[in-house]
Amino acid sequence: MTTVAVKKVIVMIEFITALSDPDNEFLRLALYIGALASLAFGIIGTYVVTRRISYLAGAIAHCVFGGIGAGIYLQTVVGLKWFDPIYGAVASAILAAVIIGMVSLYAEQREDTVIGALWAVGMAAGLLFMDMTPGYFDISSYLFGDILLLTERDVWMVAVLDAVILVLSIYFYNTLLAICFDDEFAKLRGIPAGAFFILLLCLTALTVVLLVRMVGIIMVIALLTLPAAVAGHFSKRLWQMMILAVFFCMAFTWSGLAVSYTYNLSSGPTIIAIAGTMYITVLIISRNWKKKRR
């Protein structure tokens, strides 16, 4: 064995020992949530990539920041002690999904301008609410994610989200496939394509909200789209793409967590860097491979 390989094995062993250390509860939680989250990310990410709505998903993610800000404001200044910022985040994500969906369906032109505006206004609202709230907030943990913030409650919430997404995407598989492939034709077959589109955006919104704490608002879109984009290169059917995307997402999050723990780096950016590198590599290899086949 080469020295590099030996080092790798040692690092892996260190990471596995670290996992069994009772002081590292947060690391185990992050791994569980990473695995559970991959299911939601893989399935919803596949829809987002094939329906080409990653820009809309990005806008929803940034509107979530406004909701978090409003949640903090309501809790601290207005005195609604029970109002956890996560409620604000969920409410703003669903609201943003419905508004953005309506704009996308009914605005005949300048759709991108309206969505870009919502994107920025969501961020601005979040910051303004935090300005108006006394005390210090670690904004960067919302923007870039922080696995130390994960709790056992997150495990349950992500598990429930997974169940909802699984049931809907299996039951409506054919319908959602038709809507992503050719929504105009789906409409002609009597399917309420607009309603399904908004449902898809709402599921995207929920996925984004629940996973913002892991990779942050800014990078959540990358973890939603990159595994699905990589999977798309190896899939013949939409369901194959979903299964592969779940697998890739899990591989990216787990290896990202291991690397970030070992080298003392932030987990979110490490996960995204690995996903991005894989995506670009697959893109280059498949391009060259296609050229050779011609």
Partner: protein, 250 residues
């Protein structure tokens, strides 16, 4: 009720820009009509009005005797495939089965649906490609798969948007035979910018360039073409029968 399509005083505009003005038109059942006209002349819009995807600003449209949105289930539609995502991971069968959607809640496909899809594929002579990926087909093959998807709806009226673009010249004849065969049992209305192709099989020609004029195919000549396209054109005789066996000298 003999009319497949009936339009009375129909006008349509896209944010102030008029696309169709005061269109009056009837297309009889069993007709094989082609819509010709320059790009941007309103051909696709006309089809979308018949499908109820666009609403006219004024006037009345009846498709198979009812409002367009109510007749959708009896109409098959083949869009221009250039508008579809060519990276999408679907097989030919997946695409054709979409023609059977809307028959059950949730969109499960029954054995009957699969049989109908297989039959539609064989009608366009694409049975061998059922498990191929849609993105790996040639342009002409994709057109035929999309026609199969429309046939899967068991339509009484078939609307085709530019079915001849991307079809190889050798395949064109076979393609025409398929359409002529289908015309035995359904009305066909297709948009095309290829006039030569059209006059071979089509029974009537609808010219759209904001206004609408109908001609029987035998009438098409230089003056009419100039009128539609608004410029001088050279006519090229374009008979498909001058090759090999069918070569006639009279």
């Amino acid at each position: 009720m003999k009319n497949a399509v009936y339009l009375k005083n129909v006008s349509f505009s896209f944010s102030e820009r008029p696309v169709l003005e005061d269109v009056n038109l009837t297309i009889k059942r069993g007709d094989f009509a082609s819509i010709v006209g320059p790009n941007g002349g309103g051909k696709t819009t006309f089809l979308k009005l018949l499908l109820g995807l666009q609403k006219p600003d004024s006037g009345e449209i009846l498709v198979l005797g009812r409002k367009p949105a109510k007749s959708r289930f009896r109409v098959g539609y083949m869009p221009q495939h250039a508008n579809l995502d060519m990276q999408f991971p679907v097989t030919v069968m997946d695409v054709v089965l979409m023609g059977r959607l809307g028959r059950s809640l949730g969109g499960r496909y029954s054995k009957k649906d699969r049989e109908a899809a297989a039959k539609a594929l064989s009608e366009v002579e694409m049975s061998g490609s059922a498990n191929h990926m849609f993105r790996e087909l040639s342009g002409g093959q994709r057109q035929r798969v999309l026609i199969a998807r429309a046939l899967c709806c068991e339509p009484e009226l078939l609307l085709l948007d530019e079915p001849t673009s991307n079809v190889d010249p050798e395949m064109e004849e076979a393609f025409l035979n398929i359409l002529t065969e289908l015309n035995q049992r359904m009305t066909i209305l297709m948009a095309s910018h290829d006039l030569g192709f059209v006059s071979q099989v089509v029974k009537s020609v609808i010219c759209i360039n904001r206004r609408v004029v109908i001609h029987p195919t035998s009438e098409i000549n230089g003056a009419i073409i100039k009128d539609i396209y608004g410029g001088d054109f050279r006519m090229v005789r374009h008979d498909h029968r001058c090759s090999e066996k069918g070569h006639r000298h009279d």
